[in-house]
Symmetry: C2
Subunit: 346 residues, 2 copies
Amino acid sequence: MDARKLRILTAVVDNYIKTGEPVGSKTISMMPEIKVSAATVRNDMAVLEELGFLEQPHTSAGRIPTFSGYRLYIEEVLGKSELDAEEKERLDSMLGDESLCTEELLLQNASTALAEITKCATVVSNLAPKYSVISKVEVIPTGKRIYVILLITSNGKIKNKACRMTFDLTEDHMNFLQKFLEENLEGVSISDLSEERLNQLITAMGTYMVALSPLVKGICEMSRDLQKDEVIVAGEQNLLSCGDLDKGEVVRFISHKNELGGLLDDSMSGLQIVFGEEENQNFAIGNSSMIVSKYQKCGKTAGSLGVIGPVRLDYAKIIPYIDYFTEKLTRFLSEQGDGKDDDNDG
Amino acid sequence: MDARKLRILTAVVDNYIKTGEPVGSKTISMMPEIKVSAATVRNDMAVLEELGFLEQPHTSAGRIPTFSGYRLYIEEVLGKSELDAEEKERLDSMLGDESLCTEELLLQNASTALAEITKCATVVSNLAPKYSVISKVEVIPTGKRIYVILLITSNGKIKNKACRMTFDLTEDHMNFLQKFLEENLEGVSISDLSEERLNQLITAMGTYMVALSPLVKGICEMSRDLQKDEVIVAGEQNLLSCGDLDKGEVVRFISHKNELGGLLDDSMSGLQIVFGEEENQNFAIGNSSMIVSKYQKCGKTAGSLGVIGPVRLDYAKIIPYIDYFTEKLTRFLSEQGDGKDDDNDG
DNA sequence: TATTAGCACTCATGAAGTGTGAGTGCTAAC
DNA sequence: GTTAGCACTCACACTTCATGAGTGCTAATA
């Protein structure tokens, strides 16, 4: 694989990404960076095809890149382009005032901002809930036999749930409950809240168990919710207006977006590209590609950040964006996590 | 307009709803309820076309209904079909245990259930927030200079918001704040929380104003949120898999779904059908139709409940569903609203 | 040996032409 | 008032054909 062939491959990919049409030898030969005739380009393209980097949709058409072709192109292109200061500033302002944000809101903002900039769908997964602890549980009566359970985790997630009871709780009930919850839940890691553990707690309530059971049931549900992988998806509409993707598959993807979690948490590190359907049945939008990168919190993987779009994606532009966001999240979360008393190992 | 013409119109609409193809005179004449020849049907259809109930896509095609045609058909069909007990039970179970539900959750469930059954998009608007009062405000410290504002309204809506402060609040701050909020916000109607009123409150905080301003700003934001018309949309994906509708228009609709509020609150009563685009520019999905019905709370309109789908909708089936849900919501909300001071235990 | 010009070949695409059939309106007979 | 019969319309599917972009191969050239 000599330098010219690589140049030709890059030119084909670039052109194909721009136009969506198969690229012919003549088009390539007229580019300033290619100084050979169409015939030579043809010879090289035949070799590139044999090597599996290019293919022809049909005999009399130009070439389009294969997945391997894209991969080589991306390696080649990677790190060659940087965001300028102006762009960084724009992204920063879209992320909102980080220092006043909770973790969850920050991830939400990142997802939305990235979707807006890239005009693609974005997906942000967050493993943090699993590793966080319950920092506060409160049950608040709000009249008419409705009680609100408020649950706050160490990573800033707030959940609430209203429970309607069949009778009013006595002061004794409330005192017991509040104390019980404080003692048994506050400071407990979310990942320790197994079904089994919750059942133990219920039994431990003794005579109060029956009266308070709707509330306990509510807390169980909330903890189950918290243990789910959190996946934030934004910009799904962008996929629908993308001509390269099958609308039906996109719709199916959108309605199953919550199942993306597992896919993102595959044990890969750094920046990864996954091509839909052919490569990964779980991510079944044909002709689509997903660029994923992992962000960290205090040196440990805390989640992933990705862009989903057509295979024909402007990688050269988008990858720097993803890099920037990944760095930014990592930096911010680590600053936030370093600070204080919550979950220092040991 | 004699009975046979009405029968023919109904047959055309029925058939068109089922097949999506223009309906010809021969098809109609072979139906058991039509006992005349194709030629006679043709004559009648020509009259129905003159009256504006049918139209021809092109000369040599069958007839399709016009909007007026659908309207006449719906009047005719209306009330002719009822849900059977089995179906009612199914709907009830989808709505969840009403007696343990808050108002908001109930509406959410209704929207989702209706979407699932009808395979359409559904929209539920809720005017209640405007008419409700704040029943509880609390500010809860959760460490690391983060404070959670919890706001609960009389109709069961719970909102929370985390505020990150630049320094920790003193006990004095907290005491003042809690008392201040209780005195000035609890029991206040949401609709009274004008920008002006909030500014008055801020000024009334005196020397505490500066220190507590991020929290006050947070409360302002939350109250602004509460005053917005609440619109719950479900089943949007169903519109995307509907061949009759333009995908682009559907996507546009989905991304602007929050603006539907005004449309639903037009001063209409009972069951209404709106046809998209042609009839109402605000509801701009061409070839779509929306069936809307108002539900009440203690005799006053409390919101609307609607189904959005293609014009070619199975009205005969869907209208009874909407009626049932409307009745159900009305009954439940009224019971809930009435029964403030019931004492049926101890 | 690497590159290039030349040439025959392929094949998607789009335009033009054609046949078919479902459906119509009109008229005259029942 | 209803119906059979007939000529007419027109979307749609099908075929045919010309075009041109792009190819691979070969032989000449640097």
